[in-house]
Amino acid sequence: MFEELSNGDSFIRHLDPRVKIAVVFFFSILAAVAVRMHVLLWLLSLGILIVVLARVPLPELFRRLIPVNLLIAFLWLFLPFTFAGEPMFSVGALTVTREGVLYAARISIKSNAMMLMLIALVASTPIFTLGHAMHELGVPQKIVHLFFFTYRYIHVMHREYVRLVNSMKIRGFTPGNNLHTYRTISYMVGMLLVKSFDRAQRVHNAMLCRGFEGNLYSLSTFSLNGRDVVSLILMITAVIILGVLEWKKTI
């Protein structure tokens, strides 16, 4: 259920995760700031290129793009009418403005470009590796710890949840609209919390028993090789060029 997007071998998969994080970070910031249509279109193309290189399976890609685009569809219901500007045409009492349409279009392109990059990152890097890379990039140790624990406990909670649901099922529970159902569900959620708390404590004890003193070690060492450096330079150059295009009033 919370399985990561896993896929086969790709060139992107073997890049240093720190490089990937840095590129996605700067890319996202530029996309969030940019307003010029041609810059946005370039960003979207770049996003598509990277996702293709990362070999994300298409059905999975579309599934992950659905939530974002549902929200964007909702914005299309409002923005063209509520944005002040030059009228294009009218639907009844409502007027669609040119600026409104452009604004909504920009948001759609931005969002999708940023999501494509994020999906490419997640699809090519295991979550644990991302955590270690964030640590290397200066995220405080305690936050990274919390990140690791949370990721592990999501699985613990999910398993405890499946067990509790099974236990309710085999005793003939059928949910309905009644007090018995509400009480049962609240018991289940409460029990889930209590059990997860205790499990968390015991796991932590087990770590202490093995000499854990608050330091994180990773078996995957990161080292920048030639390919990483070239990719980093290429991508950052692309971002900078687009940034200059955005910033310069002419062209």
Binding site: S28, V156, G190
Partner: protein
Amino acid sequence: MHISEGVLSPTVLLGGAVLAAAGVAAGMKDLDQKEIPSMGILSAAFFVASLMHVPVGPVSAHLILNGLVGLILGWKAFPVILVGASLQALLFQFGGITTLGVNTLNMALPAVMCHYAFRWGLKPQTSRPAFIFATFASGFGAAMIAGIMVGFSLYLTGEAFLPAAKLVVAAHLPVMLIEGGLTAACALFLRKVRPELLEGFYAP
């Protein structure tokens, strides 16, 4: 309750990120290594709650549990929600990198506010009705303020978002009721089965 990437203006994004960073720093002050596992559980609970969701406009409405997290943790809700929200972004693409700050702020600040408003309810000597009131109010209130803050973030981005922002807040009413009920029910269960947990967390 997330705002998607690409919607908010750079000013709002930056402001959110700065304020969220301040909140996280406050939450990390005198944070003991020993507390991290239990915080991780709440962070996981916060993450899992987001699986029950209903799309409402440019945000995705789902259970938040920030009231419960805040009640128990106070300022530590900031790092907990930051981590929960980043995992949501990484695993489901709910929000993204640039919106992480705003999204954390919108959910964690109400949590801290409810902590100070209602934590008296967790004291062992609180009567049952008062306990239920405080915990319900915390769940309901935290969801409500979060809804308002999401609406406000949209409004700050542009006045054109106002109708959409209003709709978002209105659509969260059912979420608030569910949050209140669930928070109260969970707290009651904890009080009966593991009162030490609530007392242990109650920071005087």
